[in-house]
C-alpha cells in the first residue's frame, strides 16, 4: 500500500497548497476594501457621516467574502472528490486489468504491481513491493528485464518487445510495452511496464505451424507415394504387355490363332490396367493441385481437325460418321493444347463408343469471349438418373458397360476437373435411345496479337537433318542485316536474314543454321523471347547464338547459353572470326601425331596434311610435350605404347598443365585397354581408335568427326571444360 500512497501524493494537491490558494483569494477580495477610502468623499465628513455606511459596507463585504469562501470550499471539495474518483478509477483499472502492469523506480524496485503481473511472477503483489525482479526471475530473465528497463530510463521513449521470460510462476512469452514515468520537473523517475501474456497464442501458432508442416510433408509423401506407385506398377506391366505382344506376333506367324486370341486378350487387359493407372494418377494430380497448365496460342480448328483425324479409324470401326462443323470467325485461342486434346479425345471416344452406325458431330463456335465445342452423337443416350451421376468417378451409366465398352470410368471426371482448371466447364443433355450432347465452354484466353499461324506453319516444315553451313542473321533493321551479310560473304559464308522473331524461329526450324547472330531489339518480340523459344526446343537447344546489343550483356546471356556477345557497332573482323568458329569444315586445324612407329606416324601425318591440316609429328612423349608447350594443337593423336614416356604418362602430364589440359586427345593404339583404364580416360574425352582395325581413311574420318564435335559448344563455357 506504500506504493499507492506514493502515487496519491504525486497527484493530490496538498493542504498547504490549498491554504495558499485561499489566502491569495482573500487578498484579492480585500483590495477594494483598502481602496475604498481614497475614492470616497472628504475624510472629515467621513468620520461623522459615514460610520454607518462603512459598517454596512463591511458587513456586505463579509457576507460576500463568506459566500465566496463557501463557494470556493465547495468547489475545492468537488475537485477533491472528482480527483479522488479519478484516482479510484485508475486504481480499479490497474487492479482489475487482465494485462500485467507494474511501476518501477530508477533502481528497478517495484513501486506498484497488479495481481496479473504478480501472478506471472509467482508471488502475491504485497510481497513484491520494494523488491527487484531478481527475487522472482532467473538471472538471464532479470538481466534481460534490466536491459529493457534501462533503455527507457536512458530516454529512448516508449519501447515494445516480445519477451520470453522465466519467472518463479512459470515461463511466459510476453508482449511488453515500457514507458517513462516523470516527476514534477519532467525528469524520468521510473518505468511503467504493461505486459500482455501471449504464451498461449505463441503456443497455438507453433501448433498450427507444426500442423501445417505435417500436412505439407504428408502431401509430399502422398505425391511421392503416387509417383513411386506409378513407377512400380508400370515396370512389371511393361514386361507383361511387351511379352504378350511378342507372343501374339509369334503365334500369328505360326498361324496359331487360338494362342493369338488368348494373347490379344492379355494385351487388352494389360492396356486397360494401364489406362486405369494413368487416369488415377491424373485425378490424384488434379486433386493435389500438381497439374500445371501450359497455355499456348493455337489455331483451334486445326487442332480439332487433327484430333478428329486420329479418331476416324475408331469411328469407322463402329460404322459411325465423324464430322467437324466449324463456325466462321473461330480463329486463335490461348489454351493448354495437351489438356484440351485430352478432353476432346475423351468426349469423341465416348461418343463413337456408344454409337453404332450413326453420326458423331463436333461443332466449334465462338460465343463472345468463349470457345464452344459441342460433341453430339446419335447413340444409346442416357436416362435422367444416369445423367445425374455421369461425372462421378467410376460411374459409367451401367456396370455392364465397362465390360462391353471398356474404359476406366474416370474419363468424364477428369475432363470436368481439367476444364475447371482451365476456367471452363462441361454440360450434358441426353435422351435415351436418341443420343447425347456434351457441351464444352472454354475462355478464349489472351491471344494478344500473336501470329500463331506462323508457329503452325513452321512446325509443318520438315526439318533437314544435320546443321547447314548457313548463318542466320536476325535483325529488324535491314541495313544491319546487310552489314553482317557483307562481312561474312566476303569469307564465303552463306547468310540468311530474318527481320522478325517469328521469322527467325521459322527459319531456324526449316534451315537449321550453324549459328545465329541475334539482335536483342526486334519489332514483334525481344531477342530474349527468341532465345528462350530456341532453347526450349530440344532440336535447336544447342544452336550457337551470337548476341548483338547496343547495351552491356546482362546475366541472362549465361542462362540462355549465349556463346558470344557482340556490342554494336561491331568490328567486321571480330564478327567474322567468331562465326568462323562455328562454320566451316574443320580444315586447317593444327594437329600433332605422336607415335614411335616411324612408318605409321608419317603415313598418318601425310594423310592428314592432304586434308589441309597443319601436322606436326613427335616420336616420343617428351618430344611431344615440348612441341605442345610451344604451341598447343587443336587435337593430339597419341600412341598408347611407346618406349620411355608412354601415352598414359603424356595424358597425365597434360592434365596438370593448364595450357595443355584442354587439348583433346585421340588415342591410337594396338593394345587392349582394360575397362579400368578406359574409365580413367573417360573424363578426358579421349577417343579410342584401334590400330589395325582402322586404316588411314578411318583415322582421318575420326579426326574430322571429333573436330566437328568439339566445335559444337555444350552449354556455352562448358565446351572447353569438357575436353
Amino acid at each position: 500500500m506504500r506504493a499507492k500512497k506514493g502515487i496519491n501524493q504525486m497527484k493530490r494537491p496538498t493542504p498547504a497548497n490549498a491554504a495558499k490558494f485561499v489566502g491569495a483569494l482573500l487578498l484579492f477580495a480585500n483590495l477594494p476594501l483598502f481602496a475604498q477610502p481614497s475614492s470616497a468623499g472628504p475624510p472629515t465628513q467621513a468620520d461623522t457621516v459615514g460610520s454607518d455606511y462603512v459598517i454596512g459596507v463591511l458587513v456586505l463585504l463579509l457576507v460576500a467574502v463568506g459566500t465566496a469562501l463557501v463557494l470556493l470550499a465547495r468547489r475545492f471539495l468537488a475537485m477533491r472528490k472528482e480527483m479522488a474518483a479519478n484516482v479510484r478509477l485508475l486504481d480499479d483499472f490497474f487492479l482489475h486489468s487482465n494485462v500485467a502492469m507494474k511501476v518501477k523506480d530508477k533502481d528497478g524496485r517495484i513501486l506498484r504491481v497488479n495481481d496479473v503481473a504478480a501472478g506471472l511472477m509467482g508471488r502475491p503483489a504485497k510481497d513484491l513491493l520494494g523488491k527487484t525482479v531478481d527475487v522472482v526471475a532467473t538471472p538471464e530473465t532479470a538481466q534481460l528485464i534490466r536491459m529493457h528497463d534501462h533503455e527507457v530510463l536512458d530516454g529512448h521513449g516508449v519501447t515494445a518487445y516480445e519477451e520470453h521470460l522465466n519467472y518463479l510462476g512459470g515461463s511466459y512469452s510476453l508482449l511488453t510495452r515500457r514507458f517513462p514515468i516523470t516527476d514534477e520537473h519532467n525528469a524520468i523517475a521510473g518505468v511503467g511496464v504493461i505486459s500482455m501474456d501471449i504464451t498461449q497464442r505463441m503456443h497455438t501458432e507453433q501448433e498450427l505451424r507444426i500442423a501445417k508442416m505435417e500436412a505439407d510433408s504428408a502431401n509430399r509423401a502422398k505425391s511421392l507415394f503416387l509417383a513411386n506407385m506409378s513407377h512400380e506398377l508400370r515396370t512389371p506391366l511393361n514386361s507383361i504387355i511387351g511379352l504378350s505382344e511378342l507372343t501374339f506376333e509369334q503365334a500369328e506367324e505360326r498361324e496359331d490363332h487360338e494362342t493369338a486370341e488368348i494373347m490379344q486378350r492379355v494385351v487388352n487387359a494389360g492396356r486397360h490396367l494401364l489406362s486405369l493407372i494413368n487416369d488415377i494418377l491424373d485425378i490424384s494430380r488434379i486433386e493435389s493441385g500438381r497439374i500445371e497448365l501450359h497455355t499456348e496460342v493455337v489455331h483451334v480448328q486445326t487442332l480439332l481437325e487433327s484430333i478428329i483425324n486420329s479418331m476416324q479409324p475408331l469411328a469407322r470401326a463402329n460404322g459411325n460418321k465423324l464430322l467437324l462443323e466449324a463456325a466462321p470467325g473461330v480463329d486463335l485461342a490461348c489454351v493448354d493444347v495437351t489438356r484440351l486434346r485430352q478432353v476432346v479425345l475423351n468426349l469423341i471416344g465416348n461418343a463413337v463408343k456408344f454409337t453404332r452406325n450413326g453420326e458423331v458431330k463436333v461443332a466449334l463456335s465462338c460465343q463472345g469471349e468463349h470457345l464452344q465445342i459441342v460433341v453430339a452423337d446419335t447413340g444409346i443416350g442416357m436416362t435422367p438418373d444416369q445423367l445425374q451421376r455421369i461425372f462421378e468417378p467410376f460411374e459409367q451409366a451401367d456396370r455392364s458397360i465397362a465390360r462391353r465398352f471398356g474404359g476406366s470410368g474416370l474419363g468424364l471426371t477428369i475432363s470436368r476437373q481439367l476444364l475447371g482448371l482451365m476456367g471452363g466447364n462441361i454440360g450434358v443433355t441426353s435422351d435415351i435411345q436418341s443420343g447425347s450432347v456434351f457441351t464444352v465452354t472454354l475462355p478464349v484466353g489472351d491471344v494478344g496479337n500473336a501470329q500463331a499461324r506462323s508457329y503452325l506453319l513452321a512446325d509443318d516444315i520438315q526439318p533437314m537433318p544435320g546443321r547447314n553451313q548457313v548463318v542466320l542473321v536476325v535483325d529488324d533493321d535491314e541495313d544491319a542485316c546487310e552489314l553482317v551479310r557483307n562481312a561474312l560473304e566476303r569469307d564465303g559464308i552463306n547468310v540468311v536474314s530474318a527481320s522478325s522473331g517469328e521469322q527467325a524461329l521459322a527459319l531456324t526450324r526449316s534451315l537449321r543454321p550453324a549459328v545465329m547472330v541475334l539482335d536483342i531489339l526486334l519489332g514483334d518480340m525481344t531477342g530474349w523471347d527468341v532465345l528462350a523459344a530456341i532453347r526450349a526446343d530440344p532440336e535447336h537447344a544447342e544452336l550457337p547464338v551470337i548476341l548483338c546489343t547496343v547495351t552491356d550483356p546482362d546475366q541472362r546471356t549465361g542462362v540462355l547459353g549465349v556463346v558470344e556477345h557482340l556490342t554494336k557497332p561491331f568490328d567486321r573482323d571480330h564478327l567474322s572470326h567468331l562465326v568462323q568458329r562455328f562454320v566451316g569444315s574443320g580444315k586447317n586445324s593444327s594437329l600433332l601425331v605422336v607415335d614411335d612407329d616411324d612408318f605409321y606416324r608419317d603415313s598418318i601425318a601425310n594423310a592428314l596434311r592432304q586434308e589441309g591440316h597443319q601436322v606436326d609429328t613427335a616420336p616420343n612423349g617428351e618430344h611431344a610435350l615440348t612441341i605442345m608447350r610451344n604451341r598447343p594443337p587443336d587435337l593430339l593423336l597419341l600412341d598408347m605404347v611407346m618406349p620411355g614416356m608412354d601415352g598414359l604418362a603424356v595424358i597425365e602430364a597434360m592434365r596438370t598443365d593448364p595450357l595443355l589440359a584442354p587439348v583433346p586427345i585421340m588415342l591410337v593404339t594396338a593394345a587392349d585397354i582394360s575397362p579400368e583404364v578406359t574409365r580413367n580416360l573417360y573424363e578426358r574425352a579421349v577417343l579410342l581408335v584401334r590400330k589395325g582395325e582402322a586404316d588411314h581413311a578411318d583415322v582421318v574420318y575420326h579426326v574430322h568427326r571429333l573436330l566437328d564435335r568439339l566445335r559444337i559448344p555444350m552449354g556455352g563455357h562448358e565446351a572447353r571444360a569438357a575436353t
Binding site: R234, G242, E245, G466, Y682
Partner: protein, 131 residues
C-alpha cells in the same frame, strides 16, 4: 546392323525388349547399370542408347549428363525409357539431353519410330536396318 545399347536393371524388361528389337534386326547390347553403360558407350560407340532412369548406382540422368559431357558420346542419340512419367520427369530427361522420351509400358511401334528417327537423324548416310 544397327546396334543399340540398352541400359536396364529390370531383367524381364531387358529380356522382353531385347527379343522384340532383335526381331526387327536391331542388335541389343544390354548392360544393367550406369557405370557399365558409360564404359560400353565409349568402347564401342552404339548407334543409339536406350536408357532407363531408375538404375542402381549412378542413375540414368547422370549417365545422360556424362554422355553429353564427353566429346566422344556427346552426339550419340539417347532415348530415355522410363516408368517415371510425370511431366517433371520427362522435362528433366529432355533437359539432360535426351533425344526422345518413351514412357513405360512401351508402345513398341512408337519406340521403333523414335529409334529410326534419331538414328537416321544422327547418321543420314547410314543404311537403316530397322524394318
Amino acid at each position: 546392323m544397327t546396334t543399340v545399347l540398352y541400359v536396364e536393371d529390370d531383367e524381364d524388361n531387358a529380356f522382353m525388349l531385347g527379343r522384340r528389337l532383335q526381331r526387327h534386326g536391331i542388335q541389343i547390347r544390354h548392360v544393367e547399370d550406369g557405370e557399365k553403360a558409360l564404359i560400353a558407350a565409349v568402347w564401342k560407340r552404339p548407334d543409339a542408347v536406350l536408357l532407363d532412369i531408375n538404375l542402381p548406382g549412378i542413375n540414368g540422368l547422370e549417365v545422360l549428363q556424362k554422355l553429353r559431357a564427353n566429346a566422344l558420346t556427346r552426339d550419340v542419340p539417347v532415348i530415355v525409357l522410363s516408368a517415371h512419367v510425370m511431366e517433371d520427369d520427362i522435362l528433366r530427361a529432355m533437359q539432360a539431353g535426351a533425344n526422345a522420351f518413351v514412357p513405360k509400358p512401351i508402345d513398341f511401334p512408337k519406340l521403333l519410330d523414335a529409334l529410326q528417327r534419331v538414328i537416321q537423324h544422327d547418321n543420314p548416310d547410314l543404311e537403316d536396318s530397322a524394318s
